[in-house]
């Protein structure tokens, strides 16, 4: 039997999604730190709302990346569990699919 | 000549042996923090005197740990000092003379554009700027403390150019 998953690749792509989560979380933090102090009062309040909106957008994108990472791992685990019924290698591979970041 | 050759050999050997260092003791970080407190306290005192004497208040005050120029065989710093700098915008015509009179206790001495002061192992100077009339700069700093650049950049207390309150 052949496995229906390349465990090493799943692990690295899921880890890459986790990294995207961290990067986008960093973007959210960066955006949140944008000050409105230098703007004229006419513009400052809009900038404040813009910053709030984009912090949320970046945070949602970060969460979506984390979901992708978790989803990919979970799909791989489901497939490997099925494979494990007929292939001992699948049982061994199962333990390698875990979150590292 | 022989002595010079031996000395040169020793110096060259030093080049090869320098570098590499172990961990940093908590003592070093405590020393860095103490220096920050001491410099900041004196900077606030000097700032108060300058504010009164020059009828103004400090602007653009920042703090930093600065690498010390004596680098030995490496371009990486082996020691740091804490310093505070600030500006005073004043209409005073002779600001350094006025500060000199008010800061006698710190043994003031003049150099070309500045007034130098000392307080224990801390040093400070006020400086005027020939093409930037109306501004007096203040610099206050402590002595070098041995700490490797890498350890310094990993330390939570490491700051470069952060705003600081001199009130």
């Amino acid at each position: 039997m052949t496995l229906h998953v390349e465990p090493a690749k799943v692990r690295s792509t899921a880890a890459a999604w986790d990294t995207e989560n961290l990067h986008l979380t960093a973007a959210a933090k960066q955006i949140k730190a944008v000050g409105t102090g230098g703007f004229t009062p006419t513009v400052a309040s809009l900038v404040g709302r813009f910053v709030e909106a984009w912090e949320a957008i970046a945070t949602r994108s970060a969460s979506a990346s984390e979901s992708q990472a978790d989803g990919l791992r979970s799909t791989a685990i489901d497939i490997l569990q099925t494979d494990a019924k007929t292939d001992i290698n699948a049982s061994l591979a199962l333990s390698s699919i875990k979150e590292i970041r | 000549m022989t002595a010079r050759i031996l000395a040169a050999t020793a110096a060259a050997l030093t080049i090869m042996l320098a570098g590499g260092c172990g961990g940093v003791s908590d003592q070093t970080y405590t020393e860095l923090e103490h220096q920050r407190d001491d410099v900041l306290a004196w900077a606030r005192e000097l700032s108060a005197v300058a504010s009164t004497t020059l009828a103004t208040s400090p602007e653009d005050a920042t703090e930093a740990y600065d690498g010390v120029a004596q680098k030995g065989t490496s371009d990486n710093y082996k020691s740091y000092k804490y310093d505070v700098q600030a500006d005073f915008v004043t209409e005073h015509q002779e600001p350094l003379d006025a500060l000199h009179d008010e800061l006698e206790e710190f043994s003031p001495t003049f150099s070309s554009n500045s007034l130098r002061l000392s307080h224990g192992d801390l040093t400070a100077f006020f400086q005027i700027y020939p093409k930037g009339p109306g501004k007096v700069g203040m610099f206050v700093e402590g002595p070098a403390i041995e700490i490797d650049q890498e350890d310094m950049s990993d330390w939570d207390g490491f700051v470069v150019g952060e705003p600081v309150d001199l009130a």
């Binding site: 990067h23 900038v47 813009f50 949602r60 | 050999t9 050997l13 930093a64 690498g67 004596q70 371009d75």
Partner: protein
């Protein structure tokens, strides 16, 4: 005869204006960096993310299908945030200009109000003398006309402020919700793509400059955000644009890698983060420093930022001042043990040089440190004993100097400065590649490279090759000198006072000692008041220190003040004994280089 005198009106108050354009520019810079994180995210989703490792057909197809909207949204977010960032950056620039105009208006208004009041006093009581009345009328008319001009400037200023506010407001309002973002930007081609595709394939900086000049402002802004690694490190692109791009890369590295817990960073991530932090400290150090004559804070330009170059040693070049416009530009090349983590001490060197140049009368200067080659450092230190790394570095340096010349259309004064092994690198750049530098400075030089038999070989004229060597600088004594020849050492003939062991360890065999009389360069005074009594390494690292002979003389060279460079006696090497340095008997001086 009737003389009608109309007193000038009181000029309208200049409105309050406390916006800070520089802070707004900072806000725009941060938003642009964030947009580049979205851009990278879009590239990830459209690329590496597709390689899921799922081999089950149905699961793999479902996974890939789900990626499409995510990637599309990421790209849309990148374009939307970039557009907003550019609008904020533009608004910041306009606010800086408006602030200058506001200051002028306020000063004009004060002056005119005083003048109007003085004229009112002169008119009450009215003078009886007709000539005096005529003068009063003329003064009132002139003042009235100036007030009208002021009022007109004030109206224009108010309109310009409103227009700038309206523009940035519209840009921000257009990208407030994800629905808006997707409607406006999803599926829209990134202008960076076409611009990147049209980039010249070679590295001729003049062709690059022509290409860059031919792009639209929108394309240039797009490339800065989308391809900062390319824009930031390509010779021929103007320094301000390179710096904007490198700021995106640097700030993005700091944000992204700082967000990864230290114990989870890979070795490469840790290296990149360490190098980014070192560059950040150097940048902060420059921006915290001030001109000793004006008290103005310095601006830092990040001319090269490539933290993973040379196996993680990294490449970075940073300038104090504006490389695009400065009348005098210098490039400082460090030597031994240099890697990106030494950026802060190199920043200090060029800060000191800029301050000294200003103190000596320079009014338009940019001083850059250049860690742009694989200098012997750490485990590479064995490389110092050969010329190979200097020769390769010389080629890279020549590219940088050619790039500076290509990006400038005016005639500026360029000085290449090399310290230690960096002086051998500079010499190689000059002798092997002939870049357009006006002056060359070799500091604490272990040798000017095997390709240079004399100063003339450096191609700028021997009168423009300047050498600073402290008489007790151990490394400065290592150049190939008469019968004490490292070349001979290499051949196994170990003769002479320094002997083979010392020479090889400290990296001898790097060519002629440029401080020697038969090399024919101009040696300047570079002794230190703290000079040691025997050859030592401390005297090798003082050349950029404030209040030293060497820094004062370098400042004069950078400023083109050749008559003010204090000449030193050259090293003489008689056949019957070791080299004789007349400078070792002179009492060193400590010229003021910054007024403090």
């Amino acid at each position: 005869m009737t003389i009608t005198i109309s007193l000038p009106p009181t000029p309208n108050e200049t409105p309050e204006f406390d916006a800070d354009g520089e802070k707004v520019q900072d806000a725009g810079t941060t938003l642009r960096t964030s947009s580049s994180i979205f851009d990278d995210h879009g590239s990830f989703v459209g690329g590496k993310a597709k390689d899921s490792g799922l081999l089950d057909g149905q699961a793999a197809a479902a996974y890939v299908q789900a990626l499409s909207p995510i990637g599309r949204h990421a790209d849309a977010c990148s374009l939307a945030l970039r557009a907003a960032a550019n609008a904020v950056l533009g608004h910041g620039d306009e606010l800086v200009d408006l602030a200058k105009r506001h200051q002028q208006l306020r000063s004009d208004r004060e002056h005119l109000a005083r003048e109007a009041a003085a004229l009112a006093s002169r008119a009450n009581p009215l003078p009886t003398d007709e000539a005096e009345l005529q003068r009063l009328k003329a003064d009132c008319d002139r003042c009235t006309s100036q007030i009208e001009a002021y009022e007109s400037d004030l109206v224009r200023w108010t309109e310009d402020l409103k227009a700038s506010e309206d523009k940035v407001t519209a840009a921000l309002r257009g990208a407030m919700t994800e629905t808006q973002i997707d409607q406006t930007y999803a599926g829209v081609a990134d202008p960076a793509d076409a611009a990147r595709d049209s980039m010249p394939s070679g590295k001729d900086p003049k062709a690059v400059k022509a290409w860059w000049d031919g792009l639209t402002e929108e394309q240039r802004a797009a490339l800065i955000a989308a391809d900062p690694e390319i824009v930031g490190n390509t010779d021929g692109i103007p320094a301000a644009d390179r710096s904007a791009a490198n700021t995106v890369s640097l700030d993005r590295d700091l944000a992204e890698l700082g967000a990864i817990p230290e114990d989870q960073r890979t070795d490469d991530e840790q290296t990149r983060y360490d190098n980014a932090k070192a560059a950040d400290v150097a940048r902060d150090k420059i921006e915290r420093s001030k001109d000793p004559m004006t008290n103005e804070h310095y601006e830092a330009q990040v001319y090269i930022y490539d933290p993973m170059a040379f196996g993680g040693d990294g490449r970075v070049a940073m300038a104090v001042g504006d490389l695009d416009t400065a009348r005098n530009v210098s490039v400082s090349v460090p030597g031994l043990t240099t890697d990106m983590e030494s950026a802060q001490s190199n920043a200090e060197n060029v800060i000191n040089l800029h301050q000294a140049a200003s103190f000596e009368g320079g009014t338009s200067t940019a001083t850059m440190f250049w860690i742009g080659y694989d200098a012997p450092s750490g485990a590479d230190s064995a490389g110092v004993a050969t010329e190979g790394m200097a020769a390769a570095g010389g080629e890279r340096l020549a590219d940088t100097l050619d790039g500076l010349n290509a990006m400038r259309s005016d005639d500026f004064h360029l000085t290449a400065i090399g310290h230690s092994y960096g002086s051998t690198t500079v010499a190689h750049a000059m002798t092997d590649h002939h870049p357009g530098a006006d002056d060359v400075v070799l500091l604490g030089s272990p040798g000017a490279g095997d390709d240079a038999d004399s100063a003339d070989d450096l191609g700028v004229g021997s009168g423009h090759v300047f050498v600073g060597t402290n008489s007790e600088d151990l490394v400065g004594r290592l150049g190939q000198t008469g019968w004490v020849s490292p070349a001979a050492i290499g051949a196994g003939v170990l003769t002479g006072p320094l002997g083979g062991v010392v020479a090889q360890m400290a990296g001898a065999g790097l060519g002629h000692n440029p401080a020697e009389d038969d090399f024919g360069a101009v040696r300047f005074q570079a002794e230190s008041t703290s000079r040691g009594s025997i050859p030592n390494i401390d005297d090798h690292v003082k050349y950029y220190d404030h209040d030293t002979e060497s820094l004062a003389n370098m400042a004069h060279i950078v400023n083109g003040q050749y008559d003010d460079v204090v000449r030193a006696g050259q090293v003489h090497d008689p056949w019957y004994r070791g080299p004789v340095d007349p400078e070792s008997d002179r009492t060193p001086t400590s010229p003021d280089t910054d007024g403090s």
